[in-house]
Amino acid sequence: MKIEVCPQPFNPWSVLQDYEAQRAQAGKCGATACFIGTMRDYNAGDSVQQMWLEHYAGMTELYLQQLAREAEQRWELLDSLILHRVGEIHCDQTIVLVAAWAGHRSPALDACRYLIEELKHRAPFWKRETLNTGQQRWVAQNTPK
C-alpha cells in the first residue's frame, strides 16, 4: 500500500511504473484499475487559471490510509495506492491518482471507483480556484459524479 500527499507535481504513469517495478511480481495479479483526476481549465461555467489545494495535515493521511485498508479488505485486493496533490496546481496537472490491484477485474474496478468516490466525499481536501478574471473562490461542493 502506498499513500501520499504530494506538494510537488508528479506524473501518474511514472509513479505507477516505479511502484510496480519495486514490488515483487508474484503471478497473482490479474487486474489493475486506476483513476486519475486532472486539473481542467474550466469549472462550473468559468475559466479557471490555477488552483490551490488545502488539506488537514495528519487527518488526510490517516483517512486515506483507512480508506485504502478498508478497500483492500472488502475486495481482497493485492495492493492499493492513493496519491493526492496539495498546494498550487496548474492546468493539465494531476490532482489525484488511485489504483487497485486484484486477482480479477471486478474487484479491481469496483475498488478503484470506491476509492475515488469516498476520497471525494470524505477526505479533508479543499480547492480554491483562481479564475481567469483574477477572482478567487473556494469550490463549494464536488459534482455528484
Binding site: 483526476g37 489545494l53 488545502e54 488539506h55 488537514y56 495528519g58 487527518m59 490517516l62 483517512y63 493526492h84 490532482i95 489525484v96 475515488i116 476520497l119 471525494k120 466525499h121 470524505r122 477526505a123 479533508p124 481536501f125 479543499w126 480547492k127 480554491r128 473556494w138 469550490v139 463549494a140 461542493q141 464536488n142
Partner: protein
C-alpha cells in the same frame, strides 16, 4: 491543558482563525467548542467536525489534550 481547535478553508476565513487553543477545565461537546471559537455563530448546516482526526457529530465530547477541527464540505479528488 488545552484543546487545540483547527479551522480550514472557507470556514477559517469566515471565522478569521486557523488555530485556537481553548482552556479545557472540563470536557466539552464539539458544539460548545464551536460556540466558543466562533463567538456564538450558529453551526453552519454542512459543516464537518473531527475529534482527534476522526469524523464526529456535534454531541461528541472533547477533553484536554484533544484536537478538534471544523471544516466545510470537502472538495478533493
Amino acid at each position: 491543558m488545552n484543546i487545540t481547535v483547527k479551522l480550514f478553508a472557507s470556514l477559517r476565513e469566515q471565522v478569521g482563525k486557523g488555530e485556537v487553543k481553548l482552556k479545557a477545565d472540563k470536557p466539552m461537546t464539539i458544539a460548545q467548542i464551536w460556540a466558543q471559537v466562533s463567538e456564538e455563530m450558529p453551526l453552519p448546516t454542512h459543516i464537518l467536525m473531527a475529534l482527534n482526526m476522526q469524523y464526529v457529530e456535534p454531541n461528541a465530547i472533547a477533553k484536554a489534550g484533544d484536537e478538534v477541527a471544523f471544516f466545510p464540505p470537502v472538495t478533493g479528488g
